[in-house]
Amino acid sequence: MTRKTLLPLILLIAVPLLAALPVIGSRALVQDLFMVLCLLVLALNWNLLAGFAGLVSVGQQAFVGIGAYALYACVILWGMDPLAGLLIAGLVAMALSAPVAFFAFRLHGAYFAIGTWVVAEIARLCLGQWKALGGGTGTSLPKGAAQEMWGAETVRALIGGSKAAAVDALTYWLALALVVVMLVASWAFLRSRMGLGLQAVRDNPVAARAVGVDPTRLKALVFLLTAFGTGICGGLLFIQIGRISPDAAFSLLDWTAFVIFIVVIGGIGTLPGPVIGVLVFYGLERLLADFGTVYLIVLGLIGIAIMLFARRGLWGSFLLHTGIDPLPLSHAAPRAGSANRSF
């Protein structure tokens, strides 16, 4: 029974605590944690891709940027509400991920990594040509747009403070909601028939095909779904940031390199890995924030060390040494006799 109650229990304790933050915490902390939550969303998505589907993409910033640009187009050019724009951002990213998959899936392994990176560069260069959204230098979200979005007034009535603080709180809650949805959805997906197929392909492609799993279909599905999640996250990030440019929206460092380090440090191919990783990442950032480049060097060295000495990251090592898996993705063995009934 504990296996089934643990995840809800953790969420039940952690989520209300985090949700109360805009009421009790400072605005700076809310903004910090907004960024942490968004990185966690990106990390959960990348972990699904690389850790479970075996698709090591170095180009997920493509979908962050596409989502962000879709949102800005919705708000600035067509006068839509940013919240509706978020949904469009996810849908546009998912729609564009289909032709990307058509191209990138011709490449395997390391070729795939480079192929996705090239796609992200193409998207960055193309959107830099979009003069209505500021071309290469970018543009800002109109000041009122975020402050008048659906729910902002209600939030302000709830927690008081300035209009800008209400936007911060609202985007923070949206990010938190996105994290919860991503966590629950990944857990459900990985324990579903399709998720099991995916892990079977990862562990032994030949055996998986032999029992009827179609790897390409499953991988394409994961690619499309993670593009949707990444696109929404990109839109949300740039509502809060308030200004967009091709270089910021398609930043390899911010939206892919950090995310890769988070997943690798926490434990690639494990569900709690990204959560652990983002905590370590945030701790390191606070500790080394004043040193700038040293921080990145340390991050790179930790990533290398993890790959050399503990490939499954912190969470994987914990599982290995203790043998305790509080959040198993596997199913319990069927009870005696149940096998007969299922046929």
Partner: protein, 287 residues
Amino acid sequence: MIWLDTLLQGLMLGGLYALFAAGLSLVFGIMRLVNLAHGDLIVLGAYLILGLCTALGLHPFLAAVLALPLMFGLGWLLQTALLNRVLGEDILPPLLVTFGLSVVIQNALLMGFSADSRKLPVGPIEAQSLPLGPVTVGVMPLLTFGSAILVIWGLNQLFYRTALGRAFRATSDDPVTAQLMGIRPRSIFAIATGIALVVATIAALYLGARANFDPAAGPARLLYAFEAVIIGGLGSLWGTLAGGLVIGVAQAFGAALNPEWQILAGHLAFVAVLLLRPRGLFPRAYD
């Protein structure tokens, strides 16, 4: 006539990209290792040459000669101490290790040399040009192109005419049988990475002599290099040269249409080639 000139400039640029790519192609062909830090190692080579120039008061070409054995040593060390430990069935560890290395090198260079862009002082040769029939071409681009051909030819000779090259090919085709014949794949890999960095140093010389470079210049060079390798086809060195020329010519024509389209045109050419020929133009080995 302007198109002929553009084509020529594109070919010259392609020579530089082929130099970026040759080392990558060698390593990739032999051990299926994708080195995401290759671009940053080229930039590191450029800074090494610059450092030797200023410290010893040497001309960049002489400094580059001094840098060659140092970079070979670095490559050997890198492979022995780091990359050999993560090579295997799983492609994730080498990808992530070289990705981490790329971030480390970039930021270490940023710390040591600041973000200012630098250039190698090659002197008057930089501005000289030769009339070549109806068009004129710069001496430096011509030298780059010639070096690219020479390097690819040299690597091919090494690969197909020497005992070391035979060991390279044997290890590439079947590491287990190669071991039975008394070849140690790991030391072969270390030599290969050393040679790759020697080629990277030659590329670094021309990178720094022709244009400005800064600590963040690596990733873009890596992409051009990779596109050249993939267009050319796995394991084919002449293919890599052809791939470099495709990217260079596409970029030159893109830039002739609109300066903002230079890089984009190169990337689009890469996508177009892959859609038509998924395994590249001249594949030698199978994945």
